[in-house]
Symmetry: C2
Subunit: 439 residues, 2 copies
Amino acid sequence: MARVEPRILKGFRDYLPELEGPRQAMLERVKTAFERFGYGPLQTPALEYSEILVGKYGDEGDKLLYRFMDNGERDVALRYDLTVPLARVVGQYGDLVMPFRRYQIAPVWRAEKPARGRFREFMQCDADLVGEPSVRADAEIMMVGLAVLGALAVPSYEMRVNDRRILDGVLDLVGVPDAGQRVVVLRAVDKLPKVGAEAVKKEIAEAVGLDDAAIDRLFALLFRKIAGPGDLGALGDELAGSEVGLAGVRGLTELLTILEGAGEGARVAVDLTIARGLDYYTSTIYETFLVGHEGYGSVMSGGRYDGLMDMFSGRPTPAVGISLGVDRLLAALTELGLVASRKASAHAFFCLFSEADYAHVCQVANRLRAHGIGVEVALGGGKLGKQLQLATRKGHRFVFLQGGDERAADTVVLKDLASGAQETLALAEAASWAGRLTG
Amino acid sequence: MARVEPRILKGFRDYLPELEGPRQAMLERVKTAFERFGYGPLQTPALEYSEILVGKYGDEGDKLLYRFMDNGERDVALRYDLTVPLARVVGQYGDLVMPFRRYQIAPVWRAEKPARGRFREFMQCDADLVGEPSVRADAEIMMVGLAVLGALAVPSYEMRVNDRRILDGVLDLVGVPDAGQRVVVLRAVDKLPKVGAEAVKKEIAEAVGLDDAAIDRLFALLFRKIAGPGDLGALGDELAGSEVGLAGVRGLTELLTILEGAGEGARVAVDLTIARGLDYYTSTIYETFLVGHEGYGSVMSGGRYDGLMDMFSGRPTPAVGISLGVDRLLAALTELGLVASRKASAHAFFCLFSEADYAHVCQVANRLRAHGIGVEVALGGGKLGKQLQLATRKGHRFVFLQGGDERAADTVVLKDLASGAQETLALAEAASWAGRLTG
């Protein structure tokens, strides 16, 4: 066959074993944290009918869909997130026991302009709680998120929380009653960490036509420090004219009270500039930043979206969720030197004295594997020095050897390449020493 | 927003938690088995440039690609298997240490006509060994496959092995020298388990124009019983005129000798009717059937493909691999009653005496989670009977309760819904009793 240049699409990545190993370990911890809270795994197709996805992410989102006609002329698209497929599932299966707790760990696709840290395919880890309108569900899902970061040993982070209804109250106050214009303002505010306050002010002035005084008032309100329930009370006084704004203040107060009572208050801070770009959020919203490394952006975000599911289920279906951007977090932790790369998948490399030993060594290796020891067996019986070199290049610290004497005595030699030490171990007693390699 | 009918594409599936739980557990065991042999995880994009995939799966395969123009007018396609993306990776990254052992667990997409047990999106679990030409690599990868089935507790299975070169020798013998016609015959033979011998004979007669005598001879050779090395020797005598056929006999003999020596011979049988549909196999090929349930088709297949990688790498790059059809196997094991569905993700349900207890119970639940106990916390403090009903509907056997007395004493009540028994346990001693729930 003719030569084909091996190349990958821009914005996509290969994860070679050295990186995929730690990434898998990370996903495993996320999964365990979700399950500890009673969240069950869901898997949905990569492809959906386009009509399921279109219109849920705003005009900008629609443009980023990988959408095409399939071989049967069906209009289909790759999933853009895990939330809308969940909404489809909740609408489609009437017999789910509510409240329904599910998590999904799966890639999503967005035809974004690739940039540093922004990819066209990336993994999402979502937990969502469906069917519970009370703010206890918001508190639970935030605690799930905090538990995930704890399980990943993320050193220092802060979850910043806001309520969309407070933003609506603020917009009532500064004079942006139109729903379309509100969305424009929220999207502009959402870009704050990326583009800075001046650019956001300019965008709002141009797009919505607010005068300088109104914009200053808007920013004074958004940047208000809310350190405790007292500050929320004062904000409530200011928003007294806006029913929706007051509902937001009440909701946020109740949420913070629960988090305090559960002993999680210290890791959560109110930040009224948190806006979230997606259209479907209705009240609580949160983002999570690495303290001192905010430049990486939010590594875990979510909120309550009480309208989205109704359109599939045909009945009021409250829901709240959180999404971990595991690839972004992995990139950040790797740059911070907090992720150990793992070169060898197995615990040890088994060298061959001669090719004729191969079949017997396979049998010995299987006995070691039964004790949980991962063993990579050499395929050739070349010079021992070369085999040891290969073991080192493959990242192994330990090698096994078995000569004629050892084979007769049913033992193996275990050599530590780091120290050079070696010792002879009985295979029948592997249960007693296996932990030295696997532990 | 307007109501949208929640529906899924034909040939695609949702895995709800009850099924996805056991499926995840299965994938976890496969992963562990792969890693025990030193295979490292690889992840590649779902989308590839079409030119990477086209022409590798035969004309039929090309037609089944999900292929489209992306937003940047690039000709792209969803991956059809995990082998060609691996070949692309091996060609693209020149610094991989050989032999390179990798596994990949990921979905693939084929626009097949959906049928019972055949889907357009399905999970593949592949292990491949790249860079080793000796038959020891073939033996290793087959042992990996056998270890996977052992780890999954598959009750009774048989791996059937053949060598493409023997089939070539047989085709030499019966008079099909043309390469294109050989492929047609192999594809027809590959359908044997599905359509039966008569249909295959008819297809070969029509497509290749062999006379009845030649077809009878072909089938006599293919259905020859090969119970040991002696039978292979006799086959070799018959294929003496075909160099390629003899090479196949020698290779298969060597392979079986290693598997016998490694103690794995009993689970492997030679079957000369195994042909494998894909074009790229060059020598050893194998399929695996559930004994007594062959109708499910092969649950694990693979072989050696020494030409495929060269086209990306530009140098001879031998490779051998095996692929587990985990969804087909899961469907088979489920129908055979061998997979327990798992309803609740957590170990216990924590009931609330009142909503005011919620925040404190969250704190208690986190202490239990720190001991590995999965706890789903009730979100409402309604009647206890209703909460217990909900726990049962969610599949829980155990519930926790904490009244004022327990809270003051820092204890919880653990109730076993199966027996009705309940006891009071100290939270400070959770380490000593957690295993009762998690073990």
